[in-house]
Symmetry: C2
Subunit: 334 residues, 2 copies
DNA sequence: CTGAAAGCGCTAACAG
DNA sequence: CTGTTAGCGCTTTCAG
């Protein structure tokens, strides 16, 4: 099939106006259902729109009205289900309100985040959604200067630039440690991924250590893997950790992907869970509920975070921090 | 913290021009690095840009130049990692080329896809990316009329509207059946999710049955679950299937999420794999490589699909279909 | 209830 | 190499 792809002449509002025998502003009013016009006018306009196959140009509309309905997301990763969940939640709300979601991926790199944020701002979005509170000065400066709404997602441990929606990672870490201590575990290890980049995982880890200390315990050993979290790294990490510290009775993982890897390692090696080794994760992924033993973890409201964040933007709400909390899932692996 | 959020006065290109003591078009040329200008002019412009904190307005630029760098994605789902993988692949290429990705989620609903596509078109994107070939007449009509590039993703079994990037789902289904037959399985069942909505899964299934027939075999039984694919549905589906047909020696799943559920069911029930029951999936998710027994499946190039699709758009390539193929992973579950 | 006219901020000829 | 001048397609006063 060969098709011509030079920009084909598109129908404009002016042509609709002419075809309907009314003024341009009338067409505009009818289409946006704003201002007043007679039923008869309305019908004539809609007929012309239909007949000509008119598609309004939102680029032009945005420029003229100086108010965009684009919402920009700069997410650190799309490699696990966490941010897709947030996007999915947000998109349901945005779509209902004729907003459009725009995104880019920073790979957990703060400088890339700055560059992408700057690029996003050129589209004059109504709001920019970013992950967490840790940003370069440049990102913060640009965001502030832009005058658009800012929502920081999935964290509430810090000072919001404008709005924030999420939960406390530090508290999640603390609660995880408290749970393990209550269960009687004492030789506790940690398997995590790059904490400098994923600062929320870092906060969970420090909350975890904090609560251990409060319970007169300390972390027995830890294994930090370079790079992103993954099931594979979790499995590898646990293997390496146990090679050094065979006597651990529980391991806290930086998230469920990592924890599943650890779980698989135990299954493969015949390490019985939780009697020989307990496993605890973070996120509450669906898959963790269906493993032979449900994963002990903390469930986070990711889809809800997206929804609430989007709703705040749509409503043009005042600056605020919304703590959605989380839920500890006892599971069967700890 | 209280901040004012009324639209703050933004710096415009005209102000930069004035501050730099040059004409507007000169600033425009320098900023886009297009056309000619002296080094001295360039420096003065950049200094003014820096001093005023100028952020170009791409909305205005797009309107003036009649050529947008928005790329629209209408994806059926963000609930598993498949489409996030595609988006991630595409976004790397798009970001390198100053394009912006825009998305919405159709929930595998063709009518929602039509509505979302129509809404997208109002932003005058350079291209629209949709999943597969099955669309309503309305979607096709609008897409065609828009004159923008169209890329159909993750399938090559059909006639492309313009461009398509993916692989043959039908061939994947056939190859899966051939593999199971070659391995000697004969009492083969199927566990799948809603095939009317996920037409690519439907094509795999029909390819699978086709190859069974070619090998003088037939499907022994099937269990189709309503709703989306999930690990939970996979586990449930296998349980129900085995309740009816305990004598199956292999089960083909609609994708890896479903297959993992089946795998977990077997682990939980002490059904030994693959001697008692073989399991075969589709997608080649990373997690399937790390389970105690690696999952037998077909690996699809999802990230690559996104990259190639984006590159075709960036290059404004002629209409074409790119078949990226797939790879059968023998694994250890079949 | 409706139309005319003035932009929104930028790019793209077109002269110089 | 650079400035001037028209728009891009729409929204928004402001009169009628």
């Amino acid at each position: 099939m060969t098709v011509e792809f030079k920009h084909q002449t598109t129908v404009t509002l002016a042509e609709v106006a002419e075809a309907a025998g009314v003024g341009e502003s009338t067409v505009s009013r009818v289409l946006r259902n704003h201002g007043s016009f007679s039923d008869k006018t309305r019908e004539r306009v809609m007929a012309a729109v239909e007949r000509l196959g008119y598609v309004p140009n939102r680029i032009a509309g945005t420029l003229a009205s100086n108010g965009s309905r684009l919402v920009a997301f700069v997410v650190p990763s799309l490699s696990n289900i966490v941010f897709p969940d947030v996007l999915r939640g947000a998109s349901t709300i945005l779509e209902e309100n004729r907003y459009q979601a725009v995104f880019s991926v920073s790979d957990y790199d703060p400088h890339k985040e700055e560059a992408l944020t700057a690029a996003m701002l050129a589209w004059r979005p109504a709001a920019v959604m970013v992950a967490g509170y840790e940003h370069t000065d440049g990102t913060i400066k640009r965001l502030r200067a832009s005058g658009c709404r800012i929502v920081e997602l999935l964290d509430v441990d810090g000072d919001a630039l404008d709005m924030a929606v999420g939960f406390s990672n530090r508290a999640a870490g603390r609660q995880s440690a408290a749970f393990l201590l209550k269960r009687g575990y004492r030789r506790i290890g940690y398997v995590g991924h790059d904490l400098n980049r994923d600062t929320r995982a870092g906060k969970r880890f420090s909350g975890f250590c904090e609560a251990l200390a409060a319970g007169d315990a300390t972390l027995a050993d830890r294994e930090i893997l370079a790079g992103a979290s993954s099931v594979e790294n979790g499995r590898l990490g646990l293997e390496q950790l146990l090679a050094r510290s065979a006597d651990l009775d529980a391991v806290y993982f930086s998230n469920d992907d990592m924890a599943l890897g650890g779980y698989f390692h135990c299954l493969a090696r015949g390490i019985s869970i939780p009697s020989q080794l307990a496993i605890f994760g973070y996120n509450g992924l669906d898959i963790g509920r269906v493993t032979p033993q449900p994963l002990s973890t903390i469930r986070t409201p990711r889809v809800e975070t997206g929804k609430v964040a989007a709703q705040l933007v749509v409503n043009n709400s005042p600056s605020q921090v919304v703590d959605l909390g989380f839920e500890l899932i006892e599971g069967a692996t700890a």
